[in-house]
């Protein structure tokens, strides 16, 4: 290790000197790499926003264990199961409460534009908080009035004016079928790919809005365990106790279940994965162009080094040194720019897009891989550096 360090110290940093000597070319190269990095960051950002946004409602549910129909696919296609299973669940040791959650999509008139829009209606009994959203829990009393709803500030669409009015304390009314709804409060959750907006209401209002739904057919069962009980053990006991027409998942498993649906059953995960791969390829091509131009430009000098007795491995090390320098320097603007672009995209789409350390590390690794791959292709040109041509 010590000798390697000494080796590095006495070595002329040729790759760096070559890159630094042609500053224009270096800047173009860095811009190219930064571009590829930005593309990868955007693709990965949208991908993880998809997973995050579609599990946002799942994450805030106030439950240790979730009961759902075995036919459930995702939040928008939950199907239903019998409310009797919730009462049965209360028999199991360790279960504290088991409450019902009703979820369905509904078409309402946008209170601002009066144009039809689809929103996701979430209903539960207002005596007991069902969501870990303090804002909602403070306004549960409002929901006890019929045809009253709470609306999501993070909704996608033209709701800004309506939200501003509610914010000032003036309830806004809108219409579902022939029923008038009053938006009397707000909360913050955010839109998802599956639902542009979430609307929270009481179970009674929910059942009035969906005349064909029945109080005894629930979308989800939220089970909370007694303090000190292990949710995994209680979940196992529940699955053993309940018939197979209901599925038992712990809260973490349920989030995983939702995410898994979007990962596998929807094409969106694949699309963004492909987008990332394309960005990677674009990066490889850009870096290859830069490195191969550089190798060509220095072919004569490399041949001279060979004639002086430097081996092929030394020349390879120059190219890889350049590749690593480009990767690291290009990554700097490549990681700073997306932070701004994320903020822009988050504003435009109401999706939770933000930079994470793990994604930054992952893209850095991809960048290093990209540059190494390009370097490996570019070194094939080195073989044409024949020292015998020098005389």
């Amino acid at each position: 290790m010590r000798s390697l360090l000494q080796q590095l110290q006495r070595r002329t940093p040729l790759g760096w000197l070559q890159l630094n000597h042609e500053k224009g070319r270096l800047l173009v190269a860095l811009a190219g790499i930064a571009f590829a990095d930005v593309l990868m960051f955007m693709q990965l950002g949208f991908q993880s926003a998809l997973y995050d946004s579609n599990t946002r409602l799942n994450r805030v549910m106030r439950a240790d264990i979730v009961l759902l129909s075995p036919k459930a696919l995702n939040l928008q296609n939950l199907s239903t199961f019998s409310r009797r299973r919730l009462f049965q669940a209360r028999d199991v040791a360790g279960v504290q409460t088991a409450t019902a959650l009703y979820i369905n999509s509904i078409t309402w008139k946008n209170p601002q534009t009066r144009v039809n829009a689809t929103v996701q209606m979430v209903g539960f009994a207002p005596d007991e908080p069902a969501l870990n959203l303090p804002e909602v829990n403070q306004q549960l009393d409002k929901l006890k009035l019929p045809d009253t709803v709470l609306f999501d500030r993070g909704a996608r669409g033209q709701y800004a004016e309506a939200i501003a009015q509610v914010e000032q304390g003036n309830p806004v009314t809108t219409e579902v079928d022939r029923r008038t709804l009053t938006i009397s409060g707000l909360f913050s959750l955010g839109a998802s790919f599956g639902a542009d907006a979430n609307v929270i209401t009481s179970d009674q209002t929910f059942l009035r809005l969906f005349p064909r739904r029945d109080a005894s057919s629930v979308s989800l069962g939220l089970v909370r365990v007694q303090p000190g009980a292990d949710p995994a053990e209680v979940a196992a006991a529940l699955s053993a106790h309940l018939p197979s027409d209901v599925r038992v998942l712990t809260a973490a498993e349920y989030v995983q279940f939702e995410e898994n649906y979007w990962r596998t059953a929807s094409p969106i995960g694949f699309v963004f994965g492909l987008g990332t791969a394309m960005a990677f390829v674009v990066g490889v091509v850009i870096v290859y162009q830069v490195l191969s131009t550089d190798v060509n430009a220095h072919l004569k000098e490399y041949a001279t080094f060979k004639a002086m007795g430097y081996g092929n491995s030394y020349l390879l090390s120059i190219v890889f040194e350049e590749a690593m320098i480009l990767a690291l320097l290009g990554f700097v603007p490549g990681v700073v720019l997306p932070i701004g672009l994320y903020a822009l995209a988050a504003n435009a789409t109401a999706l939770p897009i933000y930079m994470t350390a793990s994604r930054a590390v992952w893209v850095l690794l991809l960048t290093l891989g990209m540059c190494t791959l390009s370097g490996a292709i570019a070194t094939r040109k080195l073989q044409s550096a024949d020292p015998a041509d020098m005389f």
């Binding site: 006495r10 040729l14 630094n20 000098e301 001279t304 004639a307 007795g309 430097y310 081996g311 005389f391």
Partner: protein, 233 residues
């Protein structure tokens, strides 16, 4: 006196099959340690081919070619690379690295030898550049040096590691007569100091006087192997 280069019955061919063409015919040449030998001859006579063979830049095909005690005929690529580390090369074009300063270029001639420390390499490279009269330009890039100065840097690079053998291919071709003269004198004096052997290919009649011996190559055959210093024509 020890023999630096010993060539016996060396034949060399270019091309394959039907196109195979012999370019060197039964070359026999011995050069003693410390000798300065100039090789002359018309273009295409095979001088450069012989020089590249001696320098280990091509592998010798048949006959015997011993350089600094090592047989290069049939040597592996690795052995040739090793052998090259003990030679100093001076090319017709200076072939300096454009991204490196004069000092860094010269230092590249030392970096091959792992036993030297960074401080030692710096000191020796600086001293070498001072010896070739460029002490005030060690941090210049090649683009900012004249042709003669560049060639002097190239000589410094070739000689800084004190090679036992220096091979030069028309080192004065790109220079005016005064610079050419300076360069050759420099090579001669440095070689004398360091006791190295020089094999120099040239067309330039003005510099023949530095040679201990002049050999003449024509059509792949060594024609004249004259001993003793010739006077400048």
């Amino acid at each position: 006196m020890a023999i630096a280069i010993s060539v016996q019955n060396l034949n060399h061919y270019f091309g394959q099959g039907q196109l195979r063409k012999q370019v060197l015919f039964e070359i026999n040449l011995e050069i003693n340690t410390g000798e300065i030998v100039i090789m002359t001859g018309p273009s295409g006579s095979g001088k450069t081919t012989l020089l590249t063979l001696v320098g280990g830049l091509r592998s010798a095909q048949s006959g015997s070619l011993q350089v600094l005690g090592q047989e290069l005929c049939g040597a592996t690529a690795r052995q040739l690379t090793q052998a090259r580390q003990h030679h100093g090369y001076i090319f017709q074009a200076h072939n300096l690295h454009g991204s490196l300063t004069a000092l860094q270029n010269v230092r590249m001639g030392l970096e091959l030898h792992p036993e030297r420390s960074a401080a030692e390499m710096l000191a020796r490279s600086t001293a070498m550049l001072e010896q070739v009269g460029l002490g005030d330009r060690i941090h210049y890039y090649p683009d900012n040096l004249s042709g003669g100065q560049k060639q002097r840097v190239a000589i410094a690079r070739a000689l800084v590691s004190h090679p036992q053998l220096v091979l030069a291919d028309e080192p004065t071709a790109a220079l005016d007569s005064q610079s050419g003269r300076d360069v050759v004198n420099l090579m001669q004096s440095l070689a004398r100091e360091q006791g190295c052997t020089i094999l120099l290919v040239t067309h330039d009649n003005r510099i023949l006087d530095v040679a201990d011996r002049i050999v003449h190559m024509e059509d792949g055959v060594l024609k004249r192997n004259s001993a003793g210093v010739l006077t400048t024509p």
